[in-house]
């Protein structure tokens, strides 16, 4: 492993054109350390002048063996691994995982916890889209977008810090509810955000949506047909930009999403600009959900009182022997889950985030598979960039909104 390996083009013979073998076209390595690959992604490009003939993605630089690690931890402890997959969507990853655990052991979640989960995961969606908007603006030389977007994202991360103590690796949702109730300052912090944010979206749109330079770079670039997208299992905003109206929040509502009134933006062009429009419109829709959920945030407990799965409150441990036993058992052994498997999915900012969870009757998962949306969303990249310029490849890659932690796991 310590020696440099020499590889020949023969290894990629089946992936590049005949002209690459004679040296007529050039093979160029882009990444893994390249600012516009949004992480550690390596693309092997075959170029004819500046035109991309073929593109061979090479992933795995951020592979950390999360799935294997989770098999060695109890159900509660494995949750912290999920934050580290898609680090732009930590709340959403927690949600997908705890929902899978709840489905496997058949655990109910109180309504207040459900509403809090909705508010926080929609704020997370906004934060994630802001990072996408900022960085893809940066890739297309709109430097100020990056600064504006990160200013608003900071406000959301402050809310996360307020509720969970952490800005990014929150682990705030727990099987059976949330870690603890939100502090009193929470409502004001979210209301402040709801108040300023619509104006800020208008600001972004004035800068980009009708900007001729931006349109030149986006319109008609990187087309993805609906049939290709489905065959590649592309989901989320990318699929909706190709004209397929599919959103798990509408199709299979979870956590009470059916109570909220929101639209699912769909565009049919399937190009980079359509993907931009879908995500920018989703910012407004997510804000609508946050506002509605906050307006009717119910009072009540935030954790299930099923003591076989959820630890008792701290106050009870000093006075009740049973509470102490439950606490001790849950944190030393964990809870057992049935010998069965389930698949549960949520709509993450990038698409269908699914968790395949198999139990073996013991306190540790026998197998966890995270079906991460970025993995499939990247796979049609070689079809999308064919025939475009290298500069367009940057725009197309930005519009897929991948997170390498999500791809490599």
């Amino acid at each position: 492993m310590s020696q440099l390996q020499e590889v020949s083009v023969d290894q990629y013979r089946h992936l590049v054109s005949e002209r690459a073998l004679t040296g007529e076209t050039m093979l160029l390595n882009m990444g893994p350390q390249h600012p516009s690959t949004h992480g550690v992604l390596r693309l092997l490009l075959e170029l004819d002048g500046e035109t991309v003939i073929s593109c061979i993605p090479d992933i795995g630089f951020l592979h950390t063996g999360v799935e294997k690690n989770m098999e060695a931890k109890t159900y509660q402890k494995a949750e912290v691994m999920t934050d580290r997959l898609d680090y732009m969507n930590t709340m959403g990853n927690n949600l997908a995982y705890v929902m899978a655990v709840e489905k496997l052991v058949d655990l109910d979640v109180p309504v207040r916890a459900q509403a809090l989960r909705v508010i926080l995961s929609e704020l997370q969606r906004i934060a994630s889209h802001l990072v996408w908007l900022g960085t893809s603006g940066l890739d297309l030389a709109a430097m100020s977008m990056f600064l504006y977007c990160f200013r608003e994202r900071e406000q959301i991360l402050d809310i996360f810090e307020l509720v969970s103590g952490q800005r990014m690796m929150t682990t705030y949702f727990r099987p059976g509810g949330v870690w603890r109730d939100v502090p009193v300052e929470f409502e004001k912090a979210v209301r402040d955000f709801i108040k300023i944010f619509p104006r800020r979206i208008d600001e972004y749109e004035t800068l980009l949506t009708k900007n001729p330079l931006f349109l030149d770079r986006m319109l008609g670039i990187g087309k993805l047909e609906a049939a290709t997208a489905l065959s590649h299992s592309v989901t989320g905003p990318m699929l909706r930009a190709s004209g397929v109206n599919w959103d798990l929040r509408k199709a299979r509502p979870y956590m009470g999403y059916e109570q909220y009134d929101f639209n699912v933006p769909v565009h049919t062009e399937g190009d980079t600009y359509a993907r931009y429009l879908v995500r920018v419109q989703e910012l407004r829709e997510s804000l609508k959900i946050v506002e509605q959920a906050l307006n009717k945030l119910p009072l009540g407990p935030v954790r299930s009182d099923n003591r076989k799965f959820v630890p008792p409150p701290r106050s009870e441990i000093g006075t009740s022997m049973e509470a102490l036993i439950h606490h001790f058992k849950l944190w030393t052994e964990g809870f057992p889950a049935p010998k069965a498997s389930i698949y549960s999915a949520v709509e993450s900012p990038r698409g269908e985030l699914g968790v395949f969870l198999e139990g073996d009757g013991g306190p540790k998962p026998y197998r966890v598979h995270m079906r991460t949306p970025s993995f499939d969303n990247l796979s049609p990249i070689s079809k999308m960039v064919k025939g475009h310029l290298v500069a367009d490849l940057v725009a197309i890659l930005a519009s897929t909104d991948i997170v390498l932690g999500d791809i490599d796991r």
């Binding site: 492993m1 310590s2 390996q5 089946h14 992936l15 992933i59 795995g60 592979h63 063996g65 799935e67 294997k68 690690n69 098999e71 060695a72 489905k103 496997l104 058949d106 290709t228 489905l230 065959s231 590649h232 299992s233 989901t235 397929v244 599919w246 199709a251 299979r252 069965a340 498997s341 389930i342 698949y343 999915a345 269908e352 699914g354 395949f356 198999e358 026998y366 197998r367 598979h369 079906r371 993995f375 499939d376 796979s379 049609p380 490599d408 796991r409």
Partner: protein, 170 residues
């Protein structure tokens, strides 16, 4: 079982035999490796299962026949239902026909299964490792592959451990 799924499962049973399990409203249908491509094509073309949501595997080592289950999680957008196909595979030279002809997403997913479980997919157009380095040994998600750990180095044993540590020494 959901009402919309019942006729589909009946069609599968009439055509392929095989059994199914149900848990929390999900249907897991067991099918032989040789029939999987036909079954996926039938489900995609006749029953509108357009989306291969996930493709993964489970290792039941030390059990050897079957040692693996290859799992195909299908979603139908039009009917809003899901169905899971499970293919039991034996431990010695596990081989399944590739599904890349039916779903393009199977290409990367099968490379991942080859990498992580060492399951071969017959007829795969690009059978290379995907996540692990090309020169790595073994298949990490197999149950007989130990979860690695690093020996902590202290001042008194720093050099002893350094000598047997498997990393670049230059």
């Amino acid at each position: 079982m959901e009402a919309k799924l019942e006729p589909i499962v009946k069609t599968l049973q009439a055509k392929f035999g095989g059994s199914f399990e149900e848990f929390r409203g999900e249907v897991h249908y067991f099918i032989q490796p040789a029939q999987i491509v036909e079954a996926l094509t039938l489900l995609r073309d006749q029953h509108q299962f357009e989306l291969l949501s996930a493709q993964t595997a489970v290792d039941y080592w030390p059990q050897t026949s079957p040692r693996f289950h290859v799992i195909y999680q299908l979603s139908s957008l039009a009917q809003n239902i899901t169905l899971q196909l499970r293919v039991p595979v034996n431990g010695d030279s596990p081989t399944v026909p590739t599904a890349t002809g039916v779903f393009d997403s199977a290409n990367w997913r099968e490379r991942e299964l080859l990498d992580m479980f060492g399951i071969q997919f017959e007829g795969h157009p690009d059978p290379r490792r995907i996540l692990m380095p090309e020169d790595s040994d073994g298949h990490p998600l197999r149950k007989d592959y130990p979860l690695g750990y690093e020996e902590p180095q202290f001042t008194f044993n720093f050099e002893d451990i350094d000598l047997r540590k498997p990393y670049a020494k230059e």
